[in-house]
């Protein structure tokens, strides 16, 4: 194949004219096709973070317990007992629309590799999903494939999927969000990094063979490619969880020896980005000989091998005297193992194939001169506070509507397809608590994990959307009794070239940062997914609601102290936190009144911290029997959720004067928790002493939820209403 390398081809590879000019200046000549491919993927938004980098720098990333913050394959925090939690979240949005099963499956595979690359055994997966409107004809296909794909990969590899979240909104029609998170556990002093070291050391390729999978989209649009062959060429990668399982076991076995100097998974832009990153971080050169790369297909070009995104592959630098030890381990696991190059002192990446040098690029400029953009921003005025709308439905009517609505309906249909118990350490399965909890094997400790984001808040006011995502994650961890330690983020937005969207991005980051700082809750890893937009037939582009998804991780010193949402048979319900009855952007307003309006609920970081610290302290003291934070749907929905989990009802007291009933029961004011306790007086007094707003909500017991004026609903009926949505959507009702 001979493609003429010029500005046109560069453009079709996604490089701007300016960027191509830089390439020419760095190379001092016209680059080869392979070189152009390497530049284009390394300088892509995905690999270079060119639109987001300068803003991400402002995020809080440090705390005494942070071992590795952003910049490594995953974040690493100290969880005590000489152990570390290693975690990250990553998006696979676009592939999951094209081929939902494989897109979601390979998303899970990718994030797992980011975690075990660092020497951690993956112990839990979570997934944050956003789908288009349930009324959209295509939504069923996407939901079906995505859920099957996540389950298909995670179940097979034997990592329990323990949590996540799901939203539906028309802005995700044609552009679903699939954000997958993996949490692993490693020995704190056995963390593996990617920086290569030791000139002359072998560069080793392990895992699956390389095929022509997922070579960047630019290739497809290039007219010079033979029509027929390109139509056969898959853009979709197919995941092989069985091979990944072998890869996990083989890598962990190898990492228990002293053979590994550095290791990096092959994710986006495969061999290119892994080789470039390892060498640049280690400030060495790297020589690759592609003749040794295990290949699945015949006659692959250097360009194709360098850009292939075949799954389940890793690159590592080994101690030369240990390569045979390593080879034996990979042979035992029946995985490919090949020495494909060595480190040099040239400061360059040199790629040979069939005896020819196909690429020879100085690594310094490839990294340092990667474009960074300070893109123009436009900040939109956030909407004003909503003036309280009147109540068209009544309390019981609204609760019935809300509890059956897509964003509040039971997710059991989803989590029942995910193996949440494999590994034998799961304490709180999906639906049982505000955060999932797994025991740290061999200890009394637990890890609590959650993912959270409320895109409709971010759409209305990006700054508040950023704040709220963080505080909700922090609250969900807190509500189990865990101490929140750190978070990972997955920032999903539309096109950064649109100043309005760039404005959203900047404001969201400010919100994340302010909340993280106030709560001592640093961001240790993350991922940015931009250009989440769809173009309609009329040429109109719609961007998704800005979705800064937060994955929070916390620790419990003793899992025996953890609480879930299930209420005891008797006792009292208390409400912690202040209620104004803010209905702006609430689900009540959307689902009951059909309006998406107003300002989202205010976030008061000091109140969050005060109320949360109080809750955690009293959970750990054993005074709290069950706890659930108040978020989507408001107070009555939170109580209903607790009742449905436990199969026990309650008699609630009427709303206080000063707040109208519907605003009280359905407002989404933040910093609140519903607590079930058998020691209400003690807890009330303690709250008052601590200056924490507290209120008696009612008595636990019976088979109904009862409110003096307005409502009496069987918990059983609630459960039925709550569980219909997914089976109906999927035609399995």
């Amino acid at each position: 194949m001979s493609l003429k390398v010029d500005g046109d081809l560069a453009r079709s590879f996604g490089l701007t004219d300016d960027e191509y000019g830089k390439v020419l200046a760095i190379m001092g000549r016209t680059p080869s096709l392979t070189e152009l491919g390497i530049f284009s993927v390394m300088w892509s938004e995905h690999c270079s973070y060119k639109s987001s980098r300068m803003h991400l720098r402002t995020l809080p990333t440090k705390a005494p317990w942070v071992i590795h913050g952003p910049g490594e394959n995953a974040g690493v925090i100290d969880i005590g007992d000489g152990l570390a939690a290693v975690f990250k979240m990553e998006s696979h949005n676009h592939p999951s629309f094209i081929e939902p099963y494989q897109g979601a499956a390979t998303g899970v595979g990718g994030i797992l590799r980011d975690v075990f690359t660092m020497g951690a055994r993956p112990v839990a997966n979570l997934n944050a999903l956003r789908f288009g409107s349930p009324k959209n004809a295509d939504t069923r296909r996407v939901v079906d494939g995505v859920v099957r794909g996540i389950g298909g990969y995670g179940n097979c590899i034997g990592v329990p999927t323990v949590g996540g979240e799901v939203n539906f909104h028309p802005s995700f029609n044609g552009n679903p969000l699939v954000n997958a998170m993996t949490v692993g556990i490693a020995q704190k002093d056995r963390i593996f990094l990617s920086a290569a070291a030791g000139v002359g050391n072998p560069v080793v390729y392990v895992g699956s063979k390389t095929g022509r999978d997922g070579i960047h989209g630019a290739t497809m649009s290039s007219a010079e490619f033979d029509e027929e062959s390109s139509s056969k060429r898959p853009t979709v990668q197919v995941g092989d969880p069985f091979t990944e399982k072998l890869l996990v076991e083989a890598c962990l076995e190898l990492m228990a020896t002293d053979a590994v100097i550095s290791i990096q998974d092959m994710g986006a832009a495969g061999l290119t980005s892994s080789a470039v990153e390892m060498a640049s971080k280690g400030e060495v050169g790297i020589d690759l000989d592609l003749d040794h790369v295990p290949q699945r297909e015949a006659n692959m070009l250097a360009y194709e091998m360098m850009l292939s995104e075949s799954q389940e592959r890793m690159l590592m630098v080994l101690r030369p005297d240990r390569t045979e030890v390593a080879r034996k381990i990979f042979e035992k696991w029946e995985l490919d193992f090949a020495i494909v190059g060595h480190l040099t002192d040239s400061g360059r990446i040199t790629v040979r194939h069939n005896g020819r040098v196909e690429a020879d690029i100085p690594l310094g400029p490839l990294a340092d001169e990667a474009p960074v953009y300070d893109r123009p921003t436009v900040y939109e005025e956030p909407p004003a506070l909503l003036t309280a709308p009147s109540d068209p439905a009544g309390i019981e009517g609204a609760l019935r509507t809300l509890i059956a609505s897509p964003d509040l309906a039971s997710r059991a249909w989803i989590w029942n397809q995910y193996d949440s118990s494999v590994g034998g350490q799961t304490l709180k399965h999906p639906g049982a608590a505000d955060a999932a909890i797994i025991r740290v094997e061999g200890t009394k400790r637990g890890l609590a994990m959650t993912t959270d984001c409320t895109p409709r808040y971010g759409q209305a006011d990006p700054y508040v959307g950023g704040l709220q995502a963080v505080v909700e994650a922090w609250r969900n961890l807190t509500a189990t009794g865990a101490k929140p330690l750190a978070m990972t983020d997955n920032l999903n937005f539309g096109s950064p070239e649109n100043p309005r969207i760039m404005g959203q991005f900047v404001r969201v980051i400010k919100g994340l940062g302010d909340a993280g700082r106030a709560l001592d809750f640093p961001i240790v890893s993350g991922n940015v997914s931009l250009y989440n937009e769809t173009r309609s037939d009329t040429g109109l582009t719609t961007a998704i609601q800005p979705s800064p998804v937060i994955g929070g991780v916390g620790v419990l010193d003793d899992i025996a102290t953890a609480v879930g949402m299930a209420m005891p048979e008797q006792g009292e319900l208390l409400l912690i936190g202040e209620t104004w009855g803010e209905l702006g952007q609430s689900l009540w307003l959307r689902e009951v009144c059909g309006r998406e309006e107003g300002a989202p609920p205010r976030v008061d970081l000091a109140a969050e911290k005060r109320n949360g610290d109080f809750i955690r302290e009293h959970i750990q003291k054993g005074v709290v029997a069950a706890c659930h934070d108040v978020s989507d749907g408001g107070l009555l929905v939170a109580v209903a959720e607790m009742a449905m989990v436990s199969g026990v009802g309650c008699r609630l007291e009427a709303n206080p004067s000063g707040v109208s009933p519907h605003a009280y029961w359905f407002g989404e004011d933040q910093a609140r928790y519903v607590v079930a306790t058998t020691q209400a007086d003690h807890l009330l007094k303690a709250a008052e002493d601590a200056g924490v707003p507290v209120r008696r909500l009612g008595q636990i017991g019976g088979e109904q939820i009862h409110i003096p004026v307005g409502m009496q609903l069987d918990v059983k009926e609630l459960r039925e209403l709550n569980s219909a949505f997914f089976p109906d959507l999927m035609g399995e009702g």
Binding site: R148, G151, G152, N155, C156, I157, G158, D240, P241, F242, T243, K245, L246, W333, E334, A412, W415, N416, Q417, Y418, D419, S420, S421, V422, G423, G424, Q425, T426, L427, R439, E441, K444, I559, A560, E732
Partner: protein
């Protein structure tokens, strides 16, 4: 009591099984790699859950033909005790150490939830820890758990008391055609079966995942305690 847990490439519930057996026996079982050729010296061989060889082709098919299974077959023929859970059950049917086969779940979806089982088997070490008719809770997690066998074989299994466990409601009620009770659509709600000599048992649900009091219950413990008690007397 010496227990060996066979590990195939793709097995993923061996750690769960180690944990349960360690709690039950007080000592850690031995892990046996699928390429080993003998299981001598063991009192019990366990084939745990997972996706051996990816469960590609048919669940358990490739594992059933790996070298260790020749040894397991010999062990069983000589009267050794073998327990297969989930993928282990699939492997035992593929290896024809147990009758029948496990098809895709009737609803065509992977199922991961708690189920209830009624104890039916007689005179065997696997149900020894319960009384006949007892009902217990167990998590299940599988895509291919829909038990099938020829009608004559089903009659025979029932007649000989070789149905070890059946899916039921929490009150013990059994209804073959109710997808809320017989979750995966198994013939006659069969969740576990025994070999002719009652020394080989296969079951789909995971009692090993409910054995630790710190993690939500011990409903599955009688399986292991019953085995220990039977084999140490």
């Amino acid at each position: 009591m010496k227990v060996g847990i066979v590990v195939f490439p793709g097995t993923n519930r061996e750690r769960d099984m180690v944990q349960a057996l360690t709690l039950a026996t007080g000592r850690a079982p031995k892990l046996v790699w699928h390429q080993e050729e003998s299981v001598t010296g063991l009192d019990l061989v366990v084939l745990p859950g997972g996706f051996s060889f990816g469960d590609y082709l048919r669940s358990g098919a490739m594992a059933a033909h790996s070298p260790i299974m020749t040894a397991v077959r010999r062990f069983a023929e000589q009267g050794g005790y073998v327990l297969g859970v989930c993928n282990g059950f699939q492997i035992l049917t593929e290896a024809q150490l147990l009758p029948g086969a496990l098809l895709r779940n009737a609803g065509m979806r992977f199922l991961s939830q708690d189920c209830h089982l009624k104890v039916e088997g007689k005179e065997n070490i696997f149900t020894h820890g319960w009384a006949k008719g007892d009902v217990f809770r167990a998590p299940l997690a599988h895509g291919d758990g829909n038990y099938t066998a020829a009608p004559e074989m089903l009659d025979r299994l029932e007649g000989e008391g070789r149905v070890a466990f059946r899916y039921c409601r929490d009150d013990g009620y059994i209804q073959h055609d109710d997808a809320q009770i017989n979750l995966n659509g198994s013939a006659r709600s069969i969740a576990g079966v025994l070999s002719e000599n009652r020394r080989v048992c296969g079951m789909m649900p995971h009692p090993e995942n409910l054995t630790d009091p710190a993690l939500g219950g011990t409903d599955g413990m009688p399986l292991f305690k019953g085995i220990v008690e039977s084999l140490s007397t």
